[in-house]
Symmetry: C2
Subunit: 239 residues, 2 copies
């Protein structure tokens, strides 16, 4: 049985400040924890129902009731892991293509973007400092395990984009059609937030303004969708 | 002030059966209701806070408290409309490219797919009978208004795909690369469900099996993302 203080500690990790303070985050679900076990991430503890303990021999067995007390999901899964937040190297490999996001708030969007980047082999993501925390449970869930294979760094984009020597392809409404754009490798793909686009002060850093053309009836695409179309087009040209 | 029975009636529309019974669905938010007013959809009633009533002169003014009693969202917006479910023509125009989805369960996914199709000018979507209802509030919200410009029909795909004369491009794991596929216009783009892919019994109808190639580290893409990449590639070739 879990102690009150264990339950309190795990629940506190729903908050970013507590994740930072404890250096821990939560992962839930059989498949994603199997991926976690194959990653370099360091696990503090796994809590599992008796029904799945064969898959996780080092887990602490807990009751459904206890699991429902510590889950971060609306409906508890059968296994939950406490994982150490890795020490991020903030250094970016100069030969890597990097996806840069200027303000992503929706955890599901960030998770899906991480999963999509992983699919297309873009293994570094730089988020602006005001973006949602990538160790938020909803982000983790929607990455489907891609979080364990992707380097995610939070940076002041004014500094980072000023210093980089890579070409910067920025998603704008009045750029060249993405289908007529030649993406070089490596490069930076810069996406703005869903509500405000790319911040004004970052616009001068864009070397190649790029637009996804459409049939002209709707105003915008979802950020995760727009990012995927950029990644796909980059991959088509450079794979 | 709203009566108890009004509140009960609007809340009951969270359920598909009640939406069908009443022939009504709920739309919430200033921007999307402005789009609604420009559409052919027939509005039964608009409920608005005093603060936004200038934008909706025909609205019934209600208090924040009453709005919180009828909202389908976790946090109420400032305006809510009751809208008649249109009588769907189940007939599909033979010259239209159609997106067909074999089982979409997640409302956010379906909403995003509708928004993406609208962006790329694909104005007809056929969903299998086991798919989530497109008049679910979460679907409506994530379409950002595209629901009012898109024809969405629920059909037995075994019958529909058997009868169609269009080429059927099916999203599979072992098809031709999407980047080497020539999409003809009009055609059918067939996507499977996120968890099970395309049903076995539909596989014989596929004339062109198509795969989104990737870097090979992750198992799959989110359904909304995969659909967007198909729509984008179709649009790139046919716009």
């Amino acid at each position: 049985m879990l102690t009150k203080s264990e339950i309190k500690r795990i629940n506190s990790l729903k908050r970013k400040s507590k994740r930072k303070e404890n250096g821990l985050f939560v992962v839930e679900g059989v498949k994603i924890i199997q991926e976690l076990l194959n990653s370099k991430f360091e696990i503090e503890q796994i809590y599992a129902l008796n029904s799945v303990v064969d898959l996780f021999p080092n887990a602490t067995i807990i009751s459904e009731k206890d699991l429902s007390r510590i889950t971060h999901l609306s409906a508890a899964n059968s296994v939950l892991a406490l994982v150490h937040i890795p020490k991020t190297e903030t250094e970016i490999n100069k030969e890597d293509t990097v996806l840069v996001i200027d303000g992503v708030n929706d955890p599901g969007n960030l998770g899906t973007i991480i999963r999509t980047c992983d699919w297309f082999g873009i293994s570094t993501i730089v988020c602006s400092l005001n973006s949602v925390d990538c160790f938020n449970s909803k982000v983790i869930m929607s990455t489907m395990g891609s979080i364990f294979r992707t380097k995610i760094v939070y940076k002041d984009l004014n500094v980072y984009l000023k210093e980089t020597k890579l070409p910067i392809y920025g998603a704008l409404l009045n750029g060249t059609s993405i289908y007529e754009t030649k993406f070089t490798k490596p490069s930076i793909i810069l996406m703005g937030s869903e509500s405000h686009g790319i911040s004004k002060e970052l616009l001068p850093f864009i070397s190649n303004p790029v637009t996804i053309p459409g049939a002209g009836k709707t105003e915008s695409l979802n950020l995760g969708i727009a990012t995927a179309i950029f990644c796909s087009e980059y991959f088509r040209q450079n794979a």
